[in-house]
């Protein structure tokens, strides 16, 4: 009886599926309800970012980086600008550096809130989504006040930031931080420790630390696998070395190392750490200019550069090859979601169909960045 095998079945999941978080197609090979193999097909959102960047001047590329990871556009702006500045060896004014950390951390909270909300929705809980969006709205409101856009900010520029922030706007952030921390505990009560939610995520889709490192998985997904690695701490850029914060560890009391619940929970811990950083930013922010003194036309010297930053989804790297003109010869983006997606196949083998949505949601992918 044990030798009896049922016929394998192929099933298309996506590209238009509510839990694939964008246009992602997964070809599932099934034995009954057990997933034998899951092959992701990407590229539905390909917009030629890298080729396009070769025909644009450096300031013109920044709005396009907004559209890579559109949920955390500030972090993408920052990643690209820091790379160009490293090539140009530019000195950035203090206030601009602090403002960059401020918007990057706020955007990290906004991004994790969306991850939390949609993950609840994937797992069948609709209410947390509305709570997450209520708080996210305050952050988007602040971004609208300082840069005029709610999603594609184009705020961080080469040499500083686009606009200065008024004290009234900073008070908005202060007020938000006061309200926000108790809300995170509310989310934990609402979803994180809910028995049904735990049953669906604990011990499901385990990514071992060895596999995570060999696939190049970064960010919260890597930390959930028990690897203590955060670029803000280990390779500080901007002024991150001045702030006190912890890199959260996987919780082994309730979950298992590298399972879906830990991948989800790391993001909740990170939001609290971001609040800690933001409080220090608000205390330390100096007065002064927000843009470095430099020529209007940005022409980095001949050479190549690679720089990586920690976005909410992991390590975002940009490689730029310059020939001394106002346009780059080659731009390459190293996407954190792409590596997370490549580990997906390994994670999902042997799971049930219903767990596939749990795995995709916990990896927190953004297809705009995978396809570029």
């Amino acid at each position: 009886m044990a030798d009896l095998r049922t016929e394998e079945m192929e099933l298309n999941m996506g590209p238009q599926h509510p839990s694939t978080h964008g246009v992602l197609r997964i070809v599932l090979k099934l034995d009954g309800e057990i997933v034998l193999d899951a092959e992701p097909h990407i590229g539905y959102l390909h917009r030629c970012f890298e080729k396009h960047a070769e025909n644009l001047t450096y300031p013109e590329i920044i709005p396009f980086t907004d559209r890579l990871d559109y949920i955390a556009a500030m972090n993408n702006n920052l990643g690209f600008c820091v790379t160009v500045e490293k090539l140009m060896q530019l000195e950035i004014p203090e206030r601009a550096e602090y403002l960059r950390v401020l918007v990057a951390e706020l955007n990290r909270i906004a991004s994790h809130l969306l991850a939390f909300g949609t993950y609840g929705m994937d797992m069948g809980a609709f209410t947390p989504f509305l709570y997450a969006f209520r708080e996210r709205e305050h952050i988007l409101d602040f971004f609208e006040a300082i840069c005029g856009a709610r999603l594609t900010y184009n705020y961080v520029r080469i040499g500083g930031v686009a606009r200065d922030v008024t004290d009234e706007s900073l008070k908005l952030v202060e007020k938000f931080l006061e309200d926000f921390e108790p809300h995170v505990h509310e989310y934990n009560d609402l979803l994180s420790y809910n028995r049904i939610f735990l049953k669906r995520t604990v011990g499901v889709g385990i990514l071992s630390p060895e596999a995570a490192i060999s696939y190049g998985v970064t960010g919260p997904n890597l930390r959930a696998s028990g690897v203590h690695w955060d670029l803000r701490k280990d390779e500080p850029y901007s002024v991150y070395d001045r702030f006190e914060f912890d890199v959260p560890k996987a919780n082994t009391e309730i979950g298992e190392i590298g399972d879906c619940w830990n991948r989800y929970m790391i993001r909740m811990y990170e939001m609290i750490e971001s609040v800690r950083i933001l409080r220090q930013v608000l205390n330390q922010i100096p007065d002064g200019p927000t843009m470095a003194k430099m020529r209007a036309a940005i022409r980095p010297p001949k050479g190549e550069v690679y720089m990586r930053t920690e976005t909410p989804r992991g390590e975002l790297g940009f490689y730029i090859l310059s020939d001394g003109k106002n346009k780059p010869v080659r731009v390459k983006g190293r996407s954190p979601c792409f590596t997370a997606m490549s580990a997906f196949r390994e994670i999902s083998r042997g799971l049930m169909i219903a767990d596939i949505t749990a795995v995709i949601g916990s990896l927190d992918i953004v297809l705009g960045e995978i396809d570029r």
Partner: protein, 242 residues
């Protein structure tokens, strides 16, 4: 058996914890906005207005445009089309107006009395607007100052294709007279894509202009000579100051 019931108890109790949080919301005011029928700017509890610096539809004050084409150059998607030609000899157009933008995105347009494009810390920026009101601000609060400039080109075409625009705002930042700006309008969807190509240039404003008219605004010969005198006097004055 015991584990079975404990499991049920855990499931029910954690749901009840969640329900307690949602139950509290019953006593909070509603934040829902019935959008097309109820607008964001209607004063209501929990509904905020739109922010001053919002990047919406592009608009240009044509009377201040000098035709430098900087906006068309920097546009990443090339959605601004400009064609210029030289003015006929002797025709002068009015100078552009100065613009001061504060850090809270308040904009003043008019005549600059104090201050310069290069904002020195510790100074004051003063401006008289078109209605004659005086505005003053310490330079710490000023984000951007644009002084009055000469208009030497005739704008035959100034089109913006809003169907291509990606609302990055780069064009408004490079504008040498700050006449291109983004309004708070964001509801301009149409059924026809062609209607999103906005034409701003108005060639008819150049039609009535002849060299004499623009200089002196006079019809008969006496007034014309008066105009010439004025012109000479003005030239002398300019030489003296220089």
């Amino acid at each position: 058996m015991r584990a079975y019931f404990r499991n049920i108890y855990a499931a029910v109790s954690t749901i009840l914890i969640g329900m307690r949080i949602t139950f509290k919301e019953m006593f909070h005011p509603s934040v829902t906005n019935q959008y097309p029928y109820q607008y964001y700017f209607e004063k209501r509890k929990n509904v905020r207005g739109i922010h001053k610096g919002f990047r919406g539809q592009l608009y240009i004050r044509m009377e201040d445009c000098i035709g430098c084409k900087k906006c068309a150059m920097i546009c990443p998607v090339d959605c601004i089309y400009i064609e210029t030609s030289r003015l006929e000899k002797g025709i002068t157009l009015s100078d552009t107006r100065a613009v001061v933008r504060l850090k809270d995105q308040t904009v003043w347009i008019g005549e600059l009395l104090e201050g310069d494009e290069k904002i020195e810390p510790g100074t004051v920026v003063k401006l008289r607007d078109l209605d004659g009101n005086l505005h003053e601000s310490p330079s710490e609060h000023v984000e951007h100052v644009v002084t009055s400039k000469k208009r030497r080109l005739k704008l035959d075409r100034f089109d913006i294709d809003m169907s291509l625009c990606m609302f990055c705002g780069l064009c408004t930042e490079v504008c040498s007279t700050s006449c291109l700006y983004m309004t708070q309008t964001h509801e301009f969807s149409t059924y026809d894509r062609a209607s999103l190509l906005f034409h701003f240039a108005d060639p008819s404003i150049y039609e009535g202009l002849t060299p004499d008219e623009t200089e002196t605004k006079a019809e008969d010969g006496a007034d014309a000579s008066e105009g010439r005198k004025q012109k000479a006097a003005r030239r002398r004055q300019r030489e003296e100051t220089a």
